[in-house]
Structures are given as structure tokens and as C-alpha cells.
């Protein structure tokens, strides 16, 4: 049986590998070569986004929902909302990456979703520094609807506007990313990274497997966004490295939920929590 510490050490390994691969591709791949290597199987991409990002987000958002309704922690409410925003945006972006609107619509939704979600995460991570539980159990449901509904509603509206061509361009085929995209992705990447560090700091004090895997999931998402930042075109090797990092982030968030489940069934002398 592998000890929890060993499992967690293994869990950290992919992070530097992804960073190294992205850095390597960035150095060795000229734009023309990267573009010729672009690979965009639309259906596969949509399925991967739905399964690894939306599916995992739904699980985390549901557990956060139940947790918020019974405990009233704003940290959890914001975390659930951020997860849902990221999962929803990723899924929609996955299905809208191809024609008729071209990659700009999918990229707009995905990157804006990343920023919205990172705002929720940073708010969640900063509320861990002060007592933020709502004692008024009656107001929890309306707040939950407002927060979850607001996150999804905003992104749904954004999708509508993007489909109507009413949003500024994020990606211009042939020219690449716009400054706006770079700014949005850069901000999202920064906020994901800071949130990850704040949650990891919390893990450092508690040694909770849930916090470990969740902070790693956020770190992987930040690495994924970094890949989108440095990527030359949609579907190039750097972008795929980033996508795989975010999918692994989705898996890590599920491991965080699994840790919560395992924690219930392990005793001090029982099987260890991953």
C-alpha cells in the first residue's frame, strides 16, 4: 500500500513535466511548424472537454452545493460556482470550436470562462483567511441559486453574444491571439495560480488530501492556461499540452472528492487517504 505522502509526491510530478514540455515546445517550435502540426478533431475535442472538464466540474459543484447548504461556507459556495463556470465554459467552447463561427467563438467562451472562474476561485481562496460562514440557513438557497445561476447565466449570455458576433475578437485565424485574449488568459492564469498557492498553504497546515488534490488541480489548470497563452494556434502541440494539463486537473479534482469519500472510511489504523 502506497502511503498518502508518496501518492501526493507522485501527484506533483506532472506539474514540472507540463511546464517543461510547454517551455520546450515554445523554444523549438516555430509558428509555421506549430500551425502545420495543429490537430483539431472537433468531436473528440468536444467529448474530452465535456467528460474531463464539465463532468468533473458537475461532481465538484454538486458536492460543494450540498456542503454549502448544510454548512453555509462562502468559501465552498464560491469554489462551487468557479468550478461550474469553468466546466460549463469548457464544454460549450468544446462544442463551438468548429464552424460556422470558427475557432473565435469557442476561444472567446473558453478564455472568458477561465477568467470568470478564476475570479470565483480567488474570492474563494481569500475567504479561507477569515470566517465566512453564513449562519442564516434560510438565505443559503437563494444565494446558491444566485451564485451558481449567475455564473452559468453570465456565460450562457456571453455565448449568445459571441454567436451573434457581438463580442470582441479573441482569436483571428491566420493572425493568432488578440491582445484582449492574451490579457484575459494572462489574468486568469495569474488568478488560478494564486488560488492554487492559497489553497496549498491551507493544505500545508491541515495535510488534508482534499486540499492537496484541489490545489494541484488548480495549478494544472493554471499551467493549461499558460499553454493557451504561449500557444501559436488552436490545436497546436502547445495547446494540446495545455488541454491535457487541464484534463488532468479535472481528474485531480475528482481525486479530491474521492479523498473526502475515503476519509470517511479510514480510521487512524485503517487504509490511508490518498
Amino acid at each position: 500500500m502506497i502511503s498518502p505522502n508518496a501518492t501526493r509526491r507522485i501527484g506533483v510530478v506532472p506539474l514540472p513535466i507540463f511546464v517543461a514540455v510547454i517551455a520546450l515546445f515554445d523554444v523549438i517550435l516555430p509558428t509555421s511548424v506549430a500551425a502545420s502540426l495543429a490537430f483539431n478533431p472537433l468531436l473528440v475535442f468536444a467529448a474530452l472537454q465535456t467528460l474531463f472538464l464539465f463532468g468533473t466540474a458537475v461532481v465538484v459543484a454538486y458536492i460543494s452545493l450540498k456542503s454549502y447548504l448544510s454548512g453555509g461556507s462562502r468559501t465552498i459556495l464560491l469554489l462551487g460556482s468557479g468550478t461550474l463556470a469553468w466546466g460549463f465554459a469548457s464544454m460549450v467552447a468544446g462544442w463551438l470550436l468548429g464552424p460556422p463561427g470558427g475557432p473565435n467563438i469557442g476561444v472567446t467562451i473558453s478564455n472568458s470562462g477561465a477568467l470568470v472562474s478564476s475570479l470565483f476561485y480567488i474570492a474563494s481562496a481569500t475567504t479561507t483567511m477569515r470566517d465566512s460562514s453564513s449562519r442564516d440557513s434560510k438565505s443559503r438557497k437563494p444565494k446558491l441559486i444566485l451564485s451558481y445561476g449567475g455564473a452559468v447565466g453570465f456565460l450562457a449570455a456571453l455565448t449568445g453574444f459571441a454567436l451573434l458576433g457581438a463580442t470582441p475578437a479573441f482569436f483571428v485565424p491566420g493572425a493568432g491571439s488578440t491582445i484582449l485574449r492574451q490579457t484575459v488568459v494572462g489574468a486568469g492564469l495569474f488568478l488560478f495560480a494564486v488560488s492554487s498557492i492559497l489553497f496549498f498553504r491551507l493544505y500545508h497546515d491541515s495535510r488534508s488530501g482534499i486540499l492537496f488534490w484541489y490545489s494541484m488541480a488548480l495549478a494544472l489548470t493554471a499551467i493549461g492556461l499558460a499553454a493557451f497563452y504561449f500557444g501559436r494556434t488552436v490545436g497546436d502541440p502547445i495547446a494540446w499540452t495545455g488541454r491535457i494539463a487541464t484534463y488532468l486537473g479535472g481528474i485531480y479534482s475528482l481525486i479530491a472528492v474521492w479523498s473526502a469519500f475515503r476519509g470517511l472510511h479510514s480510521s487512524p489504523t485503517g487504509s490511508p487517504v490518498p
Binding site: I63, I76, T128, S137, S206, S208, V257, F261, G263
Partner: protein, 266 residues
């Protein structure tokens, strides 16, 4: 459909507006669950908030005790009696069992007060005077006596809470006489004793099927949140559902750590 509000907002909400008018209501529960408090609050609120005078018929306590206990909740029963809004009748069950005695005991008071509500605390006392086989017949006769005079009866029943915390309110065979059954019981959750209220039955009306926690406060009974996420409360072995357990662990990870840190800072 006319409803008799209890004046406890959350309970009225559970009852979809209150007890149905003229329905025989039973409040069942073991000792200390607050049956008498709820019954008295129903009468006091009826008299003070809804203009419905009431009679509190007890075999259990002496009047001074009742006035004193009610005063602890801020209910001035003497004042209500002086205002002809309430009567406290302390008597022996054998008087109620005898139809003539019953008329003697209540007839004049009913004529004078024109009550709309009446509490009998508790029906168990009849067991001392009536053979077990005749208990239902006697209870039926008393309830009919009250109902036919346009009064809504509410009876208190002390039900034994078994070792496994389960109840069998219906074992006495009284349930068919009762239109609405409110169960009060103790439950052990997270190593502390809590009180749970459930509406087990309400003839001819929809009602909240959830088990709700309640507290006895200095102002009477206060119904709080439902025991959401728990299973097996009625059967006496409450436990959180798996999802709720995971959600609890999730909450602990993100919030307990924070509290621990704050505690250390202090």
C-alpha cells in the same frame, strides 16, 4: 377550507396553514419532548392572535404549576382567564369518562366561553380508569363530544420511545380516531440530543413530510431547519447520507482548517 393556526409560523407552514378546523389532533411524544408546551402555545396563540378561546383540560398538573410553567414562556394564563379567552380545568379522568360528569365538568364552561379549541393533556390518563379494550371507545366518545360542540380537539399522548429510539404511536389503536398526528421525538445526531418534529398524518390535506428540528425556547416552541441529509431518524438510527458525509468532509477541509488557524492565532 378553515384552518386553525398554531401561531408557530414554521409549523403552520408545515401544516399548509394550520390544523383543519374540527379535526382531532394528537401530539405524541415521550416525556420531556415539549408536548404540553406545544399544546399550551396552541391555545394561547389561538386566544391572543386569532380570537379563538380555548379550554385546557389537564389530568396531569395542578393549576399553580401550569400557571407558573406558562409564565416562564411569557404566557399569562390568569389574565387570559380573566379576559374570558381561556379556561384551565384540572380534574380527574373519571369525571370525563362519566357522560353526566363530563357535561357537568365542561357544559357550563363551553356555554360561557364559546371555545373554539380544546386541549386534553393527556389521554393516557384514561388508561387508569378504563379497561384497555374500552380505551378507544371512550376516546371516541370524548372526541365526538368536543367536535359536536364546534370545538377543535387536540389531545396529548405520551408515547414510549423504545430503546432503539423507535416509536409505535399506532400500537394503541388510537390512530384511526385521529385526523392529524404530530410526533415529537428525541434523536441523537453527531453525539448530541436533538428534538425532531414530524407530521405523521393529516387527513384530507397535504403537509410537509420532512422531519424538522425544533427547540423549546423562552418564548415557546420554535421549529428550525429540516434534518436534510440524514436518513433513519424515525427508525431511531440516524445517519447522514453518503453524499452528505462527503459534503461534510469537503466543508471540513476548506473551513475547519481556517477555524483551526484562527484559533491558533487567538
Amino acid at each position: 377550507m378553515a384552518r386553525n393556526k398554531t401561531g408557530i409560523p414554521e409549523l403552520d407552514e408545515m401544516l399548509r396553514g394550520g390544523f383543519m378546523d374540527k379535526d382531532a389532533v394528537m401530539i405524541a411524544g415521550s416525556a420531556g419532548t415539549g408536548k404540553t408546551t406545544l399544546a399550551l402555545e396552541y391555545l394561547v396563540n389561538g386566544a391572543t392572535q386569532f380570537g379563538e378561546p380555548g379550554i385546557y383540560l389537564t389530568f396531569e398538573q395542578l393549576p399553580d404549576q401550569i400557571y407558573r410553567d406558562a409564565a416562564n414562556f411569557g404566557w399569562d394564563l390568569r389574565k387570559l382567564e380573566a379576559e374570558n379567552k381561556l379556561r384551565v380545568v384540572c380534574t380527574s379522568p373519571d369525571l370525563l369518562i362519566d357522560p353526566e360528569g363530563e357535561e357537568q365538568l365542561l357544559g357550563e364552561t363551553i356555554k360561557e366561553l364559546q371555545p373554539r379549541r380544546m386541549v386534553i393533556d393527556s389521554l393516557n390518563h384514561l388508561e387508569m380508569y378504563v379497561p384497555r379494550g374500552d380505551l378507544r371507545k371512550e376516546a371516541y366518545r370524548i372526541l365526538m363530544y368536543i367536535k359536536t360542540r364546534g370545538i377543535s380537539p387536540l389531545v396529548v399522548w405520551e408515547a414510549q420511545q423504545e430503546v432503539d429510539s423507535s416509536y409505535s404511536v399506532t400500537q394503541t389503536g388510537m390512530s384511526f380516531l385521529i385526523d392529524c398526528l404530530v410526533l415529537l421525538k428525541f434523536v441523537e445526531i453527531d453525539s448530541s440530543i436533538k428534538k425532531a418534529l414530524a407530521i405523521m398524518k393529516m387527513r384530507g390535506s397535504d403537509h410537509d413530510k420532512r422531519l424538522r428540528e425544533y427547540e423549546i425556547t423562552s418564548h415557546g416552541l420554535r421549529v428550525v431547519a429540516p434534518f436534510s441529509g440524514y436518513e433513519g431518524i424515525i427508525t431511531g438510527s440516524p445517519h447522514r447520507s453518503l453524499t452528505q458525509e462527503v459534503a461534510g468532509a469537503w466543508d471540513d477541509a476548506f473551513t475547519r482548517t481556517k477555524h483551526k488557524q484562527q484559533g491558533m492565532q487567538v
